[in-house]
């Protein structure tokens, strides 16, 4: 019974020792924190108890781990005696207290960049060729998206393109002129028209478009915008127009949804 208990505690001690060695190898602790003679004493003490293959393998792992730590201690001593030795804690402190400019300056004073000319290399060409060859065809990739049958190419006329908003149906200048004429017709004898009465259209998008066109009319001097208290009036002008006649002021006009609703109803 006592022998069995001894084996269990022995295994635990060796596993702890291996774990410590692994932590040291991973630079979590200083290698000199481990007392090598004490570790060897532990290994020796349990060596006679091991009977199974697993226990002997554990013993072997403990010895090799310890050997690696001894190697690290030796490397540490060699490093400390070299000119590169600086305590990691001190380095951290220094780096933290230094500005980015200071650090960058130090690097520049120790940096001798390699001169290399980038070019198409055999390796990169092979990689590109491999990528190209492995890439599925357009039709294969299209199948994954399941877009349905593929339409064969066909012709499309200008009105159709205009409907799809690919082409403008009319030139911008001509559209402005048409809008000015429309305004002139609507003003009647009074010579002016309420801004919202003129701008409002059947839907919100069309209203925004008319408001944008009106803003160009005002900027180009083709119409005037008068503001009296809450009301805004549009007054069309006759040619010749000049940009000097345009409004020098910017007037932001929000377009609320309610501005469109009365006509839509």
């Amino acid at each position: 019974m006592a022998e069995k208990t001894g084996r269990v505690s022995g295994r635990r001690e060796l596993e702890e020792l291996i774990q410590t060695c692994v932590s040291i190898e991973n630079r979590q602790f200083n290698p000199f924190l481990l007392d090598i003679s004490e570790a060897l004493r532990i290994i020796r003490r349990h060596a006679g108890n091991w009977k199974t293959l697993g226990d002997n393998l554990l013993d072997m792992r403990a010895i090799t781990s310890l050997a690696r730590v001894v190697g690290l201690q030796s490397a540490n001593l060699r490093f400390q005696s070299s000119s590169l030795f600086v305590d990691p804690g001190m380095v951290k402190q220094k780096v933290e207290s230094m500005s980015r400019e200071q650090l960058a300056g130090f690097l520049l004073l120790s940096w001798h960049p390699i001169v290399e000319l980038e070019q198409l290399t055999e390796a990169s060409t092979k990689e590109a060729l491999d990528y190209w060859q492995k890439m599925l065809s357009f039709f294969e990739r299209r199948k994954r998206l399941q877009p349905g049958p593929f339409d064969s190419p066909g012709a499309m006329d200008t009105p159709e393109l205009a409907r799809l908003k690919v082409l403008e149906e009319k030139a911008f200048g001509r559209r402005l002129e048409e809008l000015r004429r429309e305004m002139k017709e609507k003003v009647g004898e009074e010579g002016r028209i309420d801004y919202w009465t003129f701008v409002r259209a059947s839907n919100f998008a069309a209203t925004v478009l008319r408001a944008q066109m009106v803003s160009f009319l005002v900027s180009y001097g083709m119409a005037m915008l008068e503001r009296k208290k809450e009301k805004m009036w549009l007054i069309p002008r006759d040619p010749p127009f000049s940009t000097g006649q345009g409004s020098p002021l910017s007037l932001p006009i929000p377009i609320p949804m309610e501005a469109v609703v009365p006509r839509a109803k």
Partner: protein
């Protein structure tokens, strides 16, 4: 002029082509490649190239195999070396800016290298990201660590620890960097004076060392970068 000497200019040209033009992932040329291309006397040819490059502030740098973990041994099993052409002097901050390097990158690389060297060439990635993050922010620390890994300044070993990469061995004078960092004083450090000692700092002209000059230029650069 002997026959052997008349070969040299042609070989020197060939050596320059082999070292300047990148033919694979890593720049420069391996010793066995140079031996095949230039003949057995390639060290002499390289010495002559080094001499010719001096006027351009460039030099031929030899990096030994034990420091280049990703290099394979030569076909005849001989000790593998890699030769590069690198800048002999150093870059000014303005020149560094032209190469596309930001102050953040330079500072992060300096912090990274000093920590790894102080830890005998290996450090945990988390620790590196933490030290870089303090200077340039957490997200930038993550991307910069990846960038350093891709460019060869850092390498990751099988245990996931970060170590000094081939490019660092070829480009950085680590002794000088560690010396500069160890000797540095934090910005705005107050020099304590002996009680009763009269300060003459206002009268004496401070002589700026190279580090101070570079810092001043970098500060200007940082202020213009916003």
């Amino acid at each position: 002029m002997t026959k052997e000497q008349s070969y040299y200019p042609e070989r020197v040209k060939r050596a320059a082509h082999m070292l300047f033009f990148k033919r694979g992932r890593v720049p420069g040329a391996r010793s066995w490649e140079l031996k095949t291309g230039l003949g057995k006397e390639y060290p002499k040819v390289l010495a002559q190239l080094d001499e010719a490059l001096k006027d351009l502030d460039l030099e031929v740098k030899k990096v030994e195999s034990q420091t280049l973990s990703d290099f394979k041994p030569g076909p005849d099993g001989e000790e593998e070396m890699r030769y590069f052409v690198r800048l002999k002097g150093t870059l000014t901050p303005k020149e560094a800016r032209m190469t596309g390097w930001r102050i953040d990158n330079l500072a992060a690389l300096a912090a990274c290298m000093s920590l790894i060297v102080s830890k005998q060439g290996k450090s945990e990635r988390k620790e590196l990201e933490q030290i870089i993050g303090e200077k340039v922010g957490r997200w930038r620390a993550l991307t910069l660590t990846d960038a350093f890994l891709r460019s060869g300044y850092l390498e990751e070993d099988e245990e996931g620890l970060m170590k000094i990469g081939w490019r660092t061995r070829a480009e950085l004078d680590l002794e000088s960097l560690m010396m500069l960092i160890a000797e540095s004083k934090p910005k705005g450090a107050i020099v304590e004076e002996e009680p009763g000692e009269v300060s003459d700092s206002a009268e004496t002209l401070e002589v700026e060392g190279p580090a101070e000059t570079v810092e001043a230029e970098l500060e200007d650069q940082a202020s213009t970068e916003g």
